[in-house]
Symmetry: C2
Subunit: 312 residues, 2 copies
């Protein structure tokens, strides 16, 4: 299917005749005629009945018309999404399964009128660079990276401290525990696949392991969260960290437990980063929304990596 032909079809449906449609499209009548002939041959149905006074839609034409308009609209949206200037608000999230993706979803529900594009960049470094260059308008990250400082003109505000939960199967040693302490995790095997080295997730878990002693496998093949939970559910020794905010379709036949971790509670500190002089109107709305809906900090003592402390 050729979009130029579709555009010609819609133009004729609007104009009622080939001639006028051709003028609208800055083409000759013959060119329009050919486009329609090609489209009709493509689809195998007649779309227009040619009369001496113009053209009328056949039944198939009537049926196609709204779909054709939708198609052109989809094209327009696609082009607009990457058009420099006046494009949709672009937000980078750590991962589509992470809690920040939920925050963005909430924002979209609250402000459906603001066009939104969500991307996932490789690591905080890439994300900060992208924000600085204006390639994305905002990013949810744990600031700052170890040994790094934010570039000038980039602002950050903490929006969510995400407490970790230990996810274990029914035969695990902690399956019936009301809670565990990080100290109890020393020597445990915790599996966190899908965290590429160099990302701040990986750095976070590395520091957590170094501080409290569990062995955390942040590498290894990532076959998706379903496969991960499958493995956890069947193992008496393996565990993983999950957030209670992680939007999951919990498999009904897996008897998994989410055990809180306390004294201190390891939290993953999400902040919103943006460029101070970014004039995008959606950005201000996003900041306002996030601050308004920001939950209270976790009660009790929390732990986060030293490098992740936000000054604000």
């Amino acid at each position: 299917m050729d979009l130029k032909a579709v555009r010609a079809f819609v133009a004729i449906a609007d104009a009622g005749q080939f001639q006028k449609a051709a003028v609208d499209l800055s083409l000759t009548q013959q060119a329009v005629s050919k486009r329609i002939a090609a489209l009709e041959k493509d689809l195998g149905v007649r779309l227009l009945v040619r009369t001496p006074r113009g053209a009328e839609l056949t039944i198939d034409g009537q049926v196609l018309l709204p779909h054709a308009r939708a198609l052109l609209q989809a094209e327009e949206r696609a082009v607009a999404a990457v058009r420099p200037g006046e494009r949709a608000l672009r937000v980078d999230v750590l991962g589509r399964r992470a809690a920040t993706a939920g925050l963005v979803r909430d924002f979209h529900r609250a402000h459906p009128e603001i066009p939104l594009d969500v991307v996932t960049l490789f690591d905080a470094d890439t994300a900060v660079t992208a924000v600085r260059d204006g390639a994305v308008d905002a990013t949810f990250r744990a600031v700052t990276m170890p040994g790094r400082r934010l570039p000038d003109g980039i602002e950050a505000v903490p929006v969510l401290d995400e407490p970790l939960r230990l996810c274990v199967g029914p035969d695990h040693e902690f399956a019936r525990a009301a809670s565990v302490t990080p100290a109890q995790l020393a020597g445990q095997r915790i599996w966190m696949p899908g965290n590429a080295p160099g990302t701040e997730w990986s750095a976070y878990y590395d520091e957590l392991a170094e501080t409290f002693g569990p062995s955390i496998d942040t590498i290894g093949p990532n076959f998706g969260v379903e496969a991960l939970l499958d493995t956890i559910a069947g193992s008496p020794t393996l565990a993983t960290f999950l957030s209670e905010r992680t939007p999951l379709v919990w498999p009904a036949d897996h008897d998994l437990r989410l055990v809180p971790v306390c004294d201190p509670t390891p939290v993953y500190p999400h902040s919103l980063l943006w460029r101070t002089d970014n004039p995008h109107p959606g950005l201000a709305a996003l900041r306002t929304h996030l601050l308004a809906t920001r939950p209270r900090l976790t009660e009790g003592e929390v732990w986060k990596p030293a490098w992740a402390t936000v000054t604000s």
Copy 2:
């Protein structure tokens, strides 16, 4: 924007490299490379970063990808809508403002899983022919047309008797009447634009005028229902017929009245027509839904044209 290029882009995003995408598309790597180059030039942004081990999405590429998929999906739906066989259920309604359009909307709400296309054909004759030829699966019409009989193999069942309401402005003689009788309408001027001669609407109002004596203008330019209501609201003599089921955005500043017509109540008899041997699964669902939600007949005496009486 060229759909072939978009398809190449999505193929690369899925495959991770030009080479494999080219194989998937049954093209050479060079052709795919050219398509992407053209697309990038078109959009004015770089979509892919070429690496020695394949290609990765840029930020713009990440943003475009879901839009590109949506675009291809819209194309697929458009093609499917006119593909002979296994296409969506096609229903013809008298007009998108008429009550039958509301019935179809209700059906779609009740069965969103059944793909539906709505068309509006010129008159009952065209509609019945279309049903006979299989071009549409069902039509809502007033059967039978004067002097016509339904072709063999076409079945009809009455689904709605739509009572007419007289719509008048605040200065009209009947503006404060609780109801009027058709006999009272003798000599009144009633304006029903947009009913082309030869359609059953027109035939209906002609017979109504002949039976009870009002003068009904079924011709004249149709500037849309808003313009009609505008005129009615300002005139002390003009009136029009509306159905209370007509889905309208009632203009707040127009003090229009809908006066019931009784003794007898003129009703517009909508029936569903379909081809007995049409195997479309959605058709059975539509019939079932309509019969289940069919309202009781209007109370009191009703009037309808002799030719519109349904034998069932």
